[in-house]
C-alpha cells in the first residue's frame, strides 16, 4: 500500500481521465455508427466476389481488408455497430429495469412477495438461455426485436438476484433503520436509500452485459438462430469469420476489436459513474 498517498492526490485527475477516455471510446464508436449512413452509403453490403479476402492495410479502398464475399470489413464493422449496439443496450436496459425493480421489492419486503418473486426468478434461472432462445424464436419467429426480448426475458433474473442479495444486507444497516425512524416511507427508502447503495454492482454488471449480449447474438448465429445475415452485425461477423481464423484473421478480429473498444468505453463510463455515485470513494481508499 506504499503508493496509497500518491493515489489520493492523483485521483481526481484519474477520474476525469476515465470519463474522457470513456467518452472517447464509447462516444467515438457510437458517433461513427450514427454517421455510418453518410460514411458508408452502401451499408456495407457492396459485394464483389472478385476481390474477396483482401488482407488489411494493402488496398487503399479496403483499409481493413475484405470478407469472403469481397465486402469491405471497415464498412461492415461501422455499419454493424447499429444492430449490435441496439441489441446490446436495449436488452440490458430492459433487463436492468425489470430485474432491479423485482430485486428491490423482494429483498426489501421479504416474506411472501420475496418468496413468490424469487421462485419466479428460480424458474427463469433454471431455463438455459440457449434453449429458451431456440424455443422462443421457433415459436415467435426470428427477428431482432425477438432476440432482444429473449435476452431481456432471460437476463432480468441476474439483476434481480444480485440486487436482492445486496438489499438483504443493506436493509439491516443502521441508516436504513434511521430513515425508517424518521418516517420515510418504504417506497422512498427503496429508491433513495437502498437503490443508490446497490447501484455499484449493477452498473458494473450492466456495462459487462452489453458486451455479453452483443456476443450472444453471435452465439445465436453460431447455432443458426440469428438475424438476417445481410444486415451486418459484430456478432454475426464474428460467427461467420470463425472458419477463416486460420486463413483470414481480419474478418473476425476487427469486429472483436470494435466490441472491445465499445465495452472498454462503456466500462470506463460505468466505473466513473460508480465512483460518482460513491462519495466515500472520493477521499478514501
Amino acid at each position: 500500500m506504499a503508493a496509497a498517498q500518491a493515489a489520493s492526490s492523483s485521483r481526481s485527475r484519474f477520474r476525469s481521465l476515465e470519463l474522457v477516455l470513456g467518452i472517447l471510446f464509447a462516444g467515438g464508436i457510437s458517433l461513427a455508427v450514427l454517421l455510418s449512413p453518410i460514411l458508408f452509403p452502401d451499408g456495407g453490403e457492396g459485394m464483389d466476389l472478385m476481390s474477396r479476402l483482401i488482407p488489411p492495410f494493402q488496398d487503399f479502398k479496403h483499409i481493413l481488408g475484405t470478407d469472403p464475399l469481397g465486402r469491405d470489413v471497415l464498412a461492415r464493422v461501422v455499419v454493424g455497430g447499429r444492430i449490435s449496439l441496439v441489441v446490446g443496450i436495449l436488452s440490458v436496459l430492459g433487463a436492468v429495469l425489470i430485474g432491479t425493480f423485482v430485486g428491490l421489492i423482494a429483498g426489501y419486503y421479504r416474506g411472501i412477495p420475496e418468496m413468490l418473486l424469487m421462485r419466479f426468478v428460480d424458474i427463469q434461472l433454471a431455463l438455459p438461455f440457449i434453449l429458451v432462445a431456440i424455443m422462443f424464436l421457433a415459436i415467435l419467429g426470428a427477428g431482432i426485436d425477438k432476440v432482444i426480448l429473449v435476452m431481456i426475458a432471460t437476463q432480468w433474473v441476474q439483476y434481480a438476484r444480485i440486487v436482492r442479495g445486496s438489499v438483504l444486507a443493506l436493509r439491516e444497516r443502521e441508516f436504513i433503520l434511521s430513515a425508517r425512524a424518521i418516517g420515510v416511507g418504504n417506497g422512498r427508502i427503496i429508491f433513495t436509500h437502498i437503490l443508490p447503495n446497490v447501484l455499484g454492482p449493477i452498473v458494473i454488471l450492466m456495462t459487462l452485459n452489453v458486451a455479453n449480449n452483443i456476443l450472444l447474438e453471435s452465439s445465436l448465429t453460431f447455432l443458426g438462430l440469428g438475424v438476417d445475415p445481410l444486415i451486418p452485425s459484430w456478432g454475426g461477423m464474428l460467427a461467420d469469420g470463425r472458419t477463416y481464423l486460420q486463413t483470414a484473421w481480419w474478418v473476425s478480429v476487427f469486429p472483436g476489436l470494435a466490441i472491445m473498444f465499445t465495452v472498454l468505453g462503456l466500462n470506463l463510463l460505468g466505473d466513473w459513474l460508480r465512483d460518482y455515485l460513491d462519495p466515500t470513494g472520493q477521499t478514501s481508499k
Binding site: 421479504r110 421462485r119 440457449i130 431456440i134 442479495g165 455499484g200 454492482p201 458494473i204 454488471l205 466500462n267
Partner: protein
Amino acid sequence: MAGFITKRLLQALFVILAVTLIVSFAIRLSGDPAIMLMGGGNVTEQDLQNIRQALGLERPFHVQYLSFLQGIFVGDLGRSFIGNTPVSALIGQALPATLLLAFTSLLISIVLSVPLGIHAAVHRGRWPDQLIRILSLVGLSFPNFWLAIMLVLLFSIFLGILPPSGMEGPESFVMPALTMAIILTATNVRLVRTSMLETLSQQYIMVARSKGLRDRIVLYKHALRNSAIPLVTYIGVQFGNLIGSIVIVERVFNWPGMGTLAFDAVSNRDYPVLQGTIAVLALFIVLINLAVDIAYGLIDPRIRTE
C-alpha cells in the same frame, strides 16, 4: 434452519415442476418429432401417424405430461425418441461431464478473479488496476466459440500439447474449462473490485489495519467477506448462465455433456430427453441458488435473523 431448508426444498420441487411444464409445453408448440424422425424423405401422413402412435404423441398434452411426472417419481425419465435409449442412461453419462466442466471453470474463475479483483481495488486508479480491468475486457470482447477456436489453434495445432476435443484425460479439461473461465473471470474480477471498493472505505477495515494485520488478512478476511454477497449471488446466477452457454463450448470441444444432450434434444424435438435434461439441470440450478441463500446467512450474520 432445518425448517427453512425443508421449506425451500419443497419450493424447489415446485420450481422444477414449473420449469418442466413450461419447457414441455413450449417445445410441443414448435415442431413435430415425427417429422424430425422421418428425416423428410418419402413420408406419408399415415407414416407420421404411425410414429406418433408409437411414441404416444397422439395423447392430449396433460396426459403426456402427467405420465412424465409419474415417471419422475419412480426414477424413470422415459426413453429417447431416437435410438430408444433410456433418458436416465443418457443423463447419467452427460451430467458428470457437464458438472465437472462447470465446476472446474467456476473454480478457476474464482481462484483467478478474487485476487485480481482485490488487487485492482487496492491499487485503484493506478496501473495494476488499469491493466487488470483492460485485460478482463479482452476476455469479454470475443465470443466463447471464438476464444475456443483460438485456444485450439494455439494449444493443439501450434503447440500440439492438448487434444483439440473430446473428454479423455485431465488434459482435455484444460481448454473447455479455460474458455468458460476466461469469460466468467472477466465479469467476476470487476464485481470483486467494485464490492471491495465499497468495503475498503469502512471504518472497521481501518481498525483491522490499526491492529497491524497483514494486508492479506485485512483484505481476504475482513474485507472479502463483507464484499462477498454480490459475488456469491452472482456465482449462483453464473451457474445458470454457465449451463446455458455450455451448449456452445460443449459443441466446439465435442464434450459429451448435458448441453449437447439438451441442444440435440431440442433440434430433434426429442421430448423425453429434453424434459429429463431440463428437469435435472433445473434441480441443480435451484439447489445452487438455495446454497447461495444459505450462504448469505453464513456470510453476514445480520441477515440470519429471518
